[in-house]
């Protein structure tokens, strides 16, 4: 936020007296700020800074919304008063900004004693607020929610006990614009899950009660709204369904179960809209019925938990409109040669697929870290030598394991629009150290992958975020366009998605303790 709230205050007052210092400290301590990106049709169009300025009564606060464009230039501010708000989601369409909050008289509030807490008028809502680009709040809607909260005592020091209501929404609020039609909002509380549709005037069009599941993902596609649901606790991965609704009348389409023709469950890696058709598109792994759904360690990944990969294009509302492509490892039809356990000969490694995306030519790319394994010769030899000692030999194997693994480069696997699989390229990354096969994957694989694109030049980019560097790879040109070190001198650099065709560079200067931002082109 360019214009800091307290700039005005600090400009005029360089004060030293105790009362002055205290008042500035106390007033600024009460101010809290959070920034969120404004998304429209899956593109970042601006930023919102939501500030809680001050308490105005026992329950209510003064708030300030600062709107910034995609270049971080201030557009305007809006002030309003409300009871306790947590901004959860923001969306934008037709020059209307929709903000979704959890509004509560008790959520996150600390009480000095039990009596005060019990006497508080407990009210919890999901609040949707509709704001125009001339700074007018045109409508606010409240839906009462049950946070299933109970009064809990906080850690106390010297008898000064504090109380707080625990409880929260069961499923966070998700919000999306439905291009040219309105906004769809999803949330779940103790009473169930709900999908609500609003037009641009903020009028509620319909509200659907949705069966509770373990996880939900909301997507708007043309005139429809989709909810991807994961069955409760049935699988570590997989067990998904896709439910669709017509935005205008809320009519549900036939539910699609995420499984292949032989009943294998499908894991989810990406869920979005195809950049050309605008239809929903899902991709992921085909889970092996016996070896799948139990990946926790590196070793378990090398034992063939997946039978292949798939893509699913939802081109209509009926079953016949769903185009599914299943590619199975080791069925002899594919090159490169991939073993039944997922070992890619051409890359001489397994690939821990962690991102997938569709390009502008209908090809799907799967990206992930290469994983290589080697036997622990010394440990095996030691256990063989100590074989006569009945207890020692198994102990050695149990303690050290027989296999060591490490992550090397990143693999890019391409599934063409015609369903032909190929090993596209590798991105050079910093290798991890060899670790025991029994090590949990999450402890070793600290890399993350995501894709960005430039809709204007129809180019796709892979961001490979390694421990040491961030690599930006141009998929169309098959070349690395930038390598950004995370650490250079006193600077610590991270990047984040920004406006179309760009990424945000966030640099923190550790020595001088300041953060600078820049928005740079991907090309």
């Amino acid at each position: 936020m360019k214009n800091q709230i307290l700039t005005l205050l600090l400009c005029f007052f360089c004060v030293n007296t105790i009362a002055q210092t205290k008042v500035f400290k106390e007033v600024s301590d009460d101010i809290s700020t959070e920034t969120k990106a404004i998304i429209q049709d899956n593109s970042l169009v601006g930023y919102i800074v939501f500030t809680r300025l001050e308490k105005t009564s026992e329950d209510s606060f003064n708030y300030k919304i600062t709107l910034m464009d995609e270049n971080l230039n201030d557009i305007g501010t809006v002030n309003f008063r409300e009871i306790g708000l947590d901004l959860e989601a923001v969306s934008f369409d037709q020059d209307v900004l929709c903000l979704a909050y959890l509004k509560s008289t008790t959520h996150g509030k600390t009480f000095n004693n039990k009596k005060q807490a019990k006497h508080t008028d407990k009210k919890d809502y999901v609040l949707t607020q509709f704001l125009t680009l001339n700074g007018t709040i045109i409508k606010s809607n409240e839906i009462p929610v049950d946070l299933n909260s109970s009064l809990q005592m906080q850690s106390a020091e010297w008898g000064a006990r504090k109380f707080q209501y625990d409880g929260d929404l069961k499923h966070r609020i998700q919000l999306t614009n439905v291009s040219g039609r309105g906004f769809a909002c999803f949330y779940g509380d103790a009473d169930g899950c709900n999908l609500v549709a609003y037009d641009f005037k903020g009028t509620q069009l319909w509200k659907k009660n949705i069966d509770d599941k373990q996880q939900f993902a909301l997507l708007a596609s043309k005139a429809d709204v989709y909810l991807l649901q994961k069955e409760k606790d049935k699988y570590i991965e997989g067990g998904g369904y896709l439910s669709g609704f017509n935005f205008d009348d809320g009519k549900a389409f036939p539910r699609i179960k995420l499984e292949d023709n032989e009943g294998r469950s499908l894991s989810l890696i990406s869920f979005g809209n195809d950049p050309v058709t605008g239809n929903p598109f899902i991709s992921g792994n085909i889970i092996n019925k016996s070896r799948g759904n139990k990946i926790l360690t590196i070793k378990s990944y090398t034992q063939g938990p997946y039978d292949g990969i798939y893509t699913m294009d939802v081109n209509g509302h009926n079953k016949k409109d769903i185009k599914q492509t299943f590619v199975y490892w080791n069925d002899g039809s594919q090159k490169p040669t991939i073993s039944s356990k997922g070992y890619i000969e051409e890359a001489k490694s397994f690939t821990l697929i962690s991102d997938a995306f569709r390009d502008y030519d209908g090809n799907t790319y799967f990206v992930g870290s290469q994983l290589i394994k080697k036997p622990k010769i010394v440990a095996i030899a030691a256990s063989v030598v100590t074989l006569p000692l009945i207890i020692v030999s198994p102990m050695i194997l149990a303690m050290t394991g027989t296999m060591k693994c490490k992550f090397t480069d990143a693999s890019i696997i391409k599934l063409s629009s015609k369903g032909v699989l190929s090993f596209d390229n590798a991105i050079t990354c910093n290798n991890s150290k060899f670790v025991r096969g029994a090590t949990y994957i999450t402890y070793v694989n600290s890399r993350s992958f995501y894709s960005l694109d430039n809709s204007d030049s129809k180019s796709n980019y892979i961001i490979a975020d390694d421990l040491k560097n961030i690599m930006i790879y141009n998929v169309n040109q098959k070349k690395l366009v930038r390598t950004i070190p995370h650490k250079a001198g006193n600077l610590r650099t991270t990047i984040a998605p920004a406006k179309d065709g760009h990424f945000m560079v966030i640099e923190y200067n550790k020595k001088e303790k300041y953060t600078s931002l820049s928005i740079e082109a991907l090309n």
């Binding site: 009362a19 300025l53 003064n62 501010t77 700074g135 560079v505 090309n523």
Partner: protein, 485 residues
């Protein structure tokens, strides 16, 4: 015939001589590195620090202590600005402005006890300011903006009036009194005692103070205007109230469009500029029709200067009977503009810097220094792009504040693909103008070569040090200094 031939030869010699003189004048450095305030005003800085002692004027110890704090913060502001090279010495500009001050002093001797300490601020802002203690600062932005000596004299006389009327000192006194007053203390304590709306209460305290201060400030401005007009009249310098109306347009600086399409200015680099790079390809809010009524900004009544139209209305009866305007000498204008462009460049404000260069080209200026500065902007952008800092180097301004051509130039600098930018940099590095540039300018090309060559990253510091030792008095050393460490 022979006579005619001799005449032709002599003409030719004169022409060659004149051309050499012009070239020399165009290509020589504007000022030396040691003319920057950190070096040039070192003695004055130390003297200010030592001699600008806070006078004992309050019997109340707390008020006197607060007054000293404010007084010392002013000293720190000036000495800090000197250290940061915010000021520069240039004999020609100094002599020109000092002559205006001398004319005002001569005819208003009773008002002056001594000549003011003049400093030229390198800021592009169209402004001048009085700091009290007989210090007067004139911004380069003002010198490039004014159209006549009389217009500049009005602003200088206005600021001198502030010093004569002791407005800066009085303002410091009032501030000390307010901040130590019971009323202020009570207001602050009331904020602390209140359970609710603390931010609003504190804001109100500040606004009350600001309003009170600016109400006084407005009286001060009005008084300074009146005295300035008297000083001008006594000095037989024309006063035209319309100057105030022109000053109202200072914010429109980048609304002046370029005469030619933006791509034409890059024609000599043989890199085709695609139309798509000039058009904003954004889905973002900047391209929407927003019209926020900002509810948190300070209302108009708090502005420090009265409205220019109000000033015009108040003074229109005081206009000189016959208005004679003397143009600012072209050499002064050109020098100030070049100094401004260089300062903008050194501060990494690349779009306004390049825009000013193109505006100069629109005037038919063929001075190769502007080609050299165009190279610097392109090289700076290329370097910033490598350093992931192109966004800040371009400095995107919302479209409503700038002309269509500025917007296009801004889009171009933001959107030109990296490989094309590299080609543009290489093409500019091979420009024909380099042969006409002095050694220190050519040294910049070598320095950029080291800065932008990824394989020579370790050599950047060495190249900067080499530049500094080879061209110790060049004004461009200021740029090399950034890379010394």
């Amino acid at each position: 015939m022979l006579l005619h031939y001799r005449f032709k030869v002599s003409n030719l010699i004169i022409c060659i001589f004149l051309f050499c003189q012009i070239s020399k004048a165009q290509n020589q450095s504007l000022y030396a590195f040691h003319d920057l305030s950190k070096f040039y005003f070192k003695t004055q800085r130390d003297s200010l620090k030592k001699n600008w002692e806070c006078p004992q004027i309050f019997t109340n110890k707390t008020t006197q202590k607060k007054f000293k704090e404010i007084w010392d913060s002013r000293t720190e502001f000036v000495t800090g600005a000197i250290d940061d090279n915010d000021f520069v010495y240039d004999a020609e500009l100094y002599n020109f402005i000092n002559k205006i001050i001398a004319d005002l002093r001569k005819s208003n001797a009773s008002l002056f006890t001594q000549s003011p300490f003049l400093i030229i601020d390198r800021s592009a802002s169209v402004n001048a300011y009085a700091l009290g203690g007989n210090v007067l600062a004139v911004n380069l932005g003002l010198i490039t903006f004014v159209q006549s000596r009389e217009e500049l004299a009005l602003v200088i006389a206005h600021e001198l009036s502030h010093n004569i009327l002791k407005h800066p000192e009085n303002s410091m006194k009032e501030r000390a009194e307010w901040l130590t007053s019971d009323e202020y203390k009570n207001s602050i304590n009331a904020v602390l005692d209140s359970k609710y709306e603390r931010y609003s209460r504190l804001k109100k305290v500040i606004e009350t103070y600001t309003f009170s201060r600016n109400k006084h400030s407005r009286y001060h401005e009005s008084d300074a205007d009146s005295l300035a007009i008297v000083m001008l009249r006594n000095s037989h310098i024309s006063f035209d109230p319309e100057f105030f109306l022109r000053l109202d347009s200072t914010d429109n600086e980048y609304k002046l469009p370029l005469k030619n399409p933006v791509k034409n200015y890059f024609a000599s680099y043989n890199i085709p500029i695609e139309d798509a790079w000039l058009i904003k390809r954004s889905k973002g809010l900047s391209s929407r029709n927003y019209n926020f009524q900002d509810t948190s900004s300070i209302s108009d009544s708090f502005k420090t200067h009265p409205d220019c139209i109000e000033r015009f209305e108040k003074t229109k009866n005081m206009a000189s009977p016959t208005i004679t305007l003397t143009p600012i000498p072209a050499s002064i204008k050109e020098k100030a503009n070049k100094m401004l462009i260089w300062n903008m460049y050194d501060n990494l404000s690349l779009t306004p810097c390049l825009y000013r260069i193109f505006l100069e080209k629109d005037k038919g200026n063929t001075d190769t220094w502007y080609d050299f500065m165009t190279f610097n902007v392109i090289a700076g952008l290329y370097y910033s792009n490598q350093q992931l800092n192109r966004f800040n180097a371009v400095g995107i301004i919302p479209k409503e504040y700038i002309s269509k051509t500025y917007y296009e130039l801004q889009n171009l600098l933001e959107q030109i693909p990296s490989d094309k930018l590299e080609q543009l940099y290489k093409s500019a590095s091979a420009g024909g103008f380099w042969g006409k540039m002095p050694a220190d300018a050519n040294g910049m090309k070598t320095l950029f070569s080291a800065l932008t060559d990824n394989n020579k990253n370790n050599q950047a510091t060495a190249a900067a040090k080499d530049y500094l030792s080879t061209n110790p008095s060049s004004m461009y050393c200021e740029f090399a200094e950034h890379f010394k460490k």
